[in-house]
């Protein structure tokens, strides 16, 4: 159990009459790269929203790093070390690329309001550190020459990369990626795959990703959960999932 980073036990989320997530059981170990797949409306994004405190589960328990995170606000969960990207990109679109990343350092800012306004003591040093670290991150994501560009003017693929960079700037232990390859061409998807693997090792991260691109999911995930109508219908290694008759029927189609 020592390697376990997050565990959800019998988690359900009800919206009105709809059970978007039902009796969801899930775990992820430190350093793992796990995939969450399933048809549209299966409840994948809702699961992310539950892990990050956007919703409080109707039922069930979520343990992160040995402590319950149920009922915490999203910013508190970010402080504890879960970061995410959004399926429908949510950048600070009128701000520059570097400012997008700078905001993600928020939890670790030490200068108080008074210190910041009167620019005392460590203010300049802290601002410089944030800017330097931000620039370093952007370089990893090949955005270093777009630092001062307005986020909304970036091409789609670059916006997705910026979202990942911004999430990493919060210094997470667990990174949740919601359809990171959506809207990318095959070449971009391949590069992204490499990048995800690389950042996992470089930042010793644990990553959970939602993705429709099967080559990506099967290519990089160690384990996969398949969700349908809010419930887990299968879990296992990519090979196990590919050969699971339930999955083939529900998700991949019945042709095989």
């Amino acid at each position: 159990m020592s390697g376990e980073l997050l565990r959800a036990t019998n988690v359900s989320q009800v919206f009105g009459g709809l059970k978007a997530v039902s009796d969801f059981n899930f775990y992820i170990n430190k350093g793992e790269l796990v995939g969450l797949i399933g048809p549209n409306g299966a409840g994948k994004t809702t699961a992310f929203n539950l892990f990050t405190g956007v919703y409080t589960p109707t039922e069930g328990e979520i343990i992160f790093g040995g402590k319950s995170i149920v009922g915490l606000k999203p910013y508190q969960i970010t402080e504890r070390g879960i970061a995410r990207t959004f399926q429908n990109i949510r950048l600070f679109s009128e701000l520059s690329v570097i400012d997008n990343v700078k905001i993600a350092y928020h939890s670790r800012v030490k200068c108080g309001l008074f210190e910041s306004v009167f620019r005392l003591g460590r203010y300049f040093a802290e601002e410089k550190k944030i800017a330097d670290e931000g620039r370093k991150l952007l370089k990893i994501f090949k955005l270093e020459d777009k630092i001062n560009e307005t986020a909304k003017n970036l091409p789609y693929g670059a916006q997705r990369r910026l979202e990942i960079a911004r999430a990493l700037a919060t210094k997470p232990k667990l990174l949740l990626l919601d359809e990171p390859a959506a809207g990318m061409n095959p070449q971009e998807t391949n590069e992204l795959m490499e990048m995800i693997r690389w950042i996992r090792d470089e930042f010793s991260l644990t990553i959970l990703l939602i993705e429709h691109d099967m080559s990506l999911v099967m290519g990089i995930c160690q384990r996969i959960y398949v969700l349908e109508y809010g419930a887990v219908i299968a879990t296992g290694t990519p090979t196990e999932i590919q050969n699971n008759p339930d999955v083939i029927k529900a998700y991949l189609g019945t042709e095989e």
Binding site: L91, K102, I103, A104, H106, L113, V117
Partner: protein
């Protein structure tokens, strides 16, 4: 360190501007009517910039600014007139009272969004005014009389300078970035670790506090103030200044405050024209420049200073 150098340069410019204007006032080159209006421009700059912190930078649509101004004004005049407290203390107390009230009001209301928040704050501003109207101790509807004439151009100029310095540095710090992130995308801001409730309330409290100080300065320009000086029409006026100048630009708020106050003064004898002109300007703005005259741009953003200095450094 470039930022600090820019600050010093801007301070130098401001002091020169002050010396010129104060000189012109002392030499009676500027008459009493325009001196008063110059003073009002300064006060309105404080109000517009502080409202911009709430509406423009944090993206929370507040329409209750005149209410906070009234609190600062009444607390101030009671302290100076009835208790002979030094002016500076009265101003600070008025600002603190408005700030505390802003915090108390902000906590429940800032859960509301968009139009709902606008309506709630508009209502709260009116409630403050009507409460004051019913307090006999401050003269009720007839107003508060016998206020000492403490406010002059110098007071307003330096308080305004401090306000600009404070808000400019705030919005450029990590705390200001948190506010701007809320405006840009509240869900993402929260996901990046920003306690959105805390920062909305912070922006609201600071904005209210500066409005309170401005209220104190405003009240001590006159012999009498009455609750009717602080109707929601006043709040609209400050909103017009902010929107004309550009939500999220301090330079814009300064320009907006200057412009609206100047036009109002110039058209003092034809008040109905004033509203027509403002309405027309807002309509034209919506068509041709919806982000306001300055949008998100600041005058100090222009790289002129940097260029001048870099060239010098390169030569050395």
């Amino acid at each position: 360190m470039g930022k600090r150098r820019n600050d010093i340069i801007m301070l130098g410019f401001s002091l020169v501007l002050f010396a010129l204007l104060q000189g012109a006032i002392s030499a009676k080159l500027i008459g009493s009517f325009w001196t008063l209006n110059l003073t009002l421009i300064g006060i309105n700059i404080i109000l517009a910039v502080s409202l911009n912190l709430i509406n423009g930078y944090t993206g929370q649509f507040s329409l209750g600014h005149a209410g906070f101004m009234a609190v600062g004004a009444y607390v101030g005049v009671v302290l100076t007139t009835n208790f002979h407290v030094p002016f500076i203390i009265a101003l600070l107390a008025g600002g603190a009272a408005a700030g505390v009230l802003g915090c108390l009001i902000g906590l429940p209301t800032l859960r509301l969004r968009g139009d709902y928040l606008a309506i709630a704050t508009l209502g709260l501003g009116e409630i403050i005014r009507i409460v004051i109207m019913n307090i006999e101790y401050v003269g009720g509807a007839a107003g508060f009389k016998g206020i000492p004439h403490h406010t002059n151009f110098a007071w307003v100029f330096f308080v305004m300078l401090f306000t600009l310095f404070f808000i400019k540095n705030f919005v450029n710090s990590a705390h200001g970035r948190a506010c701007i992130a809320i405006r840009e995308n509240e869900i993402a801001a929260e996901a990046m670790g920003v306690n959105t409730t805390k920062y909305k309330v912070t922006a609201f409290t600071l904005g209210a506090a500066f409005a309170g100080v401005a209220g104190g300065l405003f009240a001590h320009c006159f012999y009498l103030i009455s609750p009717n000086s602080f109707t929601f029409m006043q709040s609209f006026n400050y909103l017009i200044m902010v929107v004309l100048g550009g939500l999220g630009s301090i330079t814009g708020s300064i320009a907006g405050a200057f412009f609206v106050t100047f036009i109002s003064a110039a058209l003092a004898n034809w008040p109905e024209f004033r509203m027509i002109i403002f309405a027309l300007m807002l309509i034209l703005l919506m068509f041709y420049r919806p982000q306001g005259l300055f949008g998100y741009i600041e005058l100090t953003n222009f790289k002129i200073f940097d260029k001048i200095f870099r060239r010098k450094e390169a030569r050395q």
